[in-house]
């Protein structure tokens, strides 16, 4: 049986797809057969972030409608042979996803894969609802910014009431906080909510902090998940998150301002 992880946030543009791509690659690199599914029907982007946009022939909706088999639609990642991508449909509308259809695809994938990452669209409509419905774990991606924190809290309410686990009275979805685009310098100046502030408001288990980093845009520009940029701070932060999720004990990094006096004096970054 696979473990199903939903990457969700409510708000758009906080780093769901970046996170999905990085986490999926991280788990596969650790030797676990992993599938990552784009639930953003009509606005697919995971393929672009994973660098396989020119290899999409069949998509998620084709599989649900029986127009293609799962094996035909799964795209094998070029960097890791344990990682497969299932792209969203770019042409259909979001109503093309059905709960039964999604459930069937996830069941079929569960037989063969260890982890299934569901990249949720923004908002709280059908795609977002179905991305979380079957989940075992939820990675709540949040920016240290008021609207993102508020939307994350709203998603937590939905996760606890409108999932399969909730409806069947099973153990609830395990929820984890991933704080992205974090600037320790701005936190120190009192210009940005701190990790502690966000944790206090959302009362969530912190899986990791991703610092604001140039490497994220560089990675998406080239279609290579940022976790493969092992020298970058964001890449290392995602690697830590994967390790922590798998039960390794990694102290948190990128939370404190490490810049010395001269760094502050002359600015930069």
């Amino acid at each position: 049986m696979a473990r199903i992880i939903v990457v969700t946030s409510g708000k758009g543009g906080v780093g769901k797809t970046t996170t999905s791509a990085a986490i999926a690659m991280g788990l596969a690199k650790k030797g676990h057969k992993t599938a990552v599914i784009d639930f953003d029907v009509g606005l697919r982007n995971l393929d672009l972030i994973m660098g396989c946009e020119r290899r999409v022939v069949y998509d998620f909706i084709n599989v649900i409608n029986g127009e293609a088999s799962l094996n035909q639609a799964l795209i094998k990642d070029k960097n890791c042979n344990l990682l497969y991508i299932l792209a969203a449909s770019q042409t259909r509308d979001k109503d093309a996803l059905s709960q039964e259809g999604v459930g069937k695809v996830l069941d079929d994938l569960s037989k063969d894969f260890k982890y299934i990452i569901c990249d949720s669209p923004a908002g709280i409509e059908r795609g977002a609802h179905l991305a979380m419905y079957f989940a075992d774990d939820a990675f709540v991606v949040t920016n240290p910014e008021v609207s993102s924190v508020r939307d994350s809290d709203r998603m937590l309410g939905i996760l606890s009431s409108k999932s399969r686990r909730a409806e069947q009275n099973k153990e609830p979805i395990k929820e984890y906080l991933l704080l992205t685009r974090y600037s320790p310098e701005r936190v120190k100046l009192g210009e940005m909510l701190s990790v502690d502030d966000v944790q206090e408001i959302l009362s969530l288990h912190l899986l990791g902090v991703i610092p604001e980093s140039k490497s994220v845009l560089n990675a998406s520009n080239s279609g290579i998940p940022v976790i493969l940029d092992e020298k970058s701070d964001a890449g290392q932060a995602y690697a830590d998150i994967v390790a922590r999720y798998l039960g390794e004990n990694k102290p948190h990094r990128f939370i404190d301002d490490k810049k010395g006096f001269f760094g502050k004096l002359f600015g930069g970054k």
Partner: protein, 88 residues
């Protein structure tokens, strides 16, 4: 961040303001999101019935829904007017 910024510290940090606003908002929204959908309608209909018999203001009635583990409580509170002549 430049040399000038280093000496310039704002008096109230915007982060603490953000935290305060969020805490109030989130607490409020958690309560209203957990309420059953029928609550506003129930409140309106109860008020209609009570107003048939007693002169009460709209805000003299409060319906509270609370959830504590498996136990759900619906609390109805009606403030009757002090002035007995106002009653039918």
């Amino acid at each position: 961040m430049s040399l000038l910024d280093y000496f310039k510290t704002s008096k109230t940090s915007s982060a603490s303001l953000a935290k305060e606003r969020l805490q109030i908002l989130v607490a409020h929204e958690r309560v209203s999101n957990n309420q059953p959908m029928y609550l506003p309608q129930l409140q309106k209909e109860l008020l209609d019935v009570i107003q048939k018999y007693v002169h009460v203001d709209k805000d003299a009635i409060s319906v509270k829904f609370e959830q504590d583990g498996n136990q759900e409580t619906l609390e109805l509170n009606i403030m009757l007017p002090d002035d007995t002549t106002k009653r039918f």
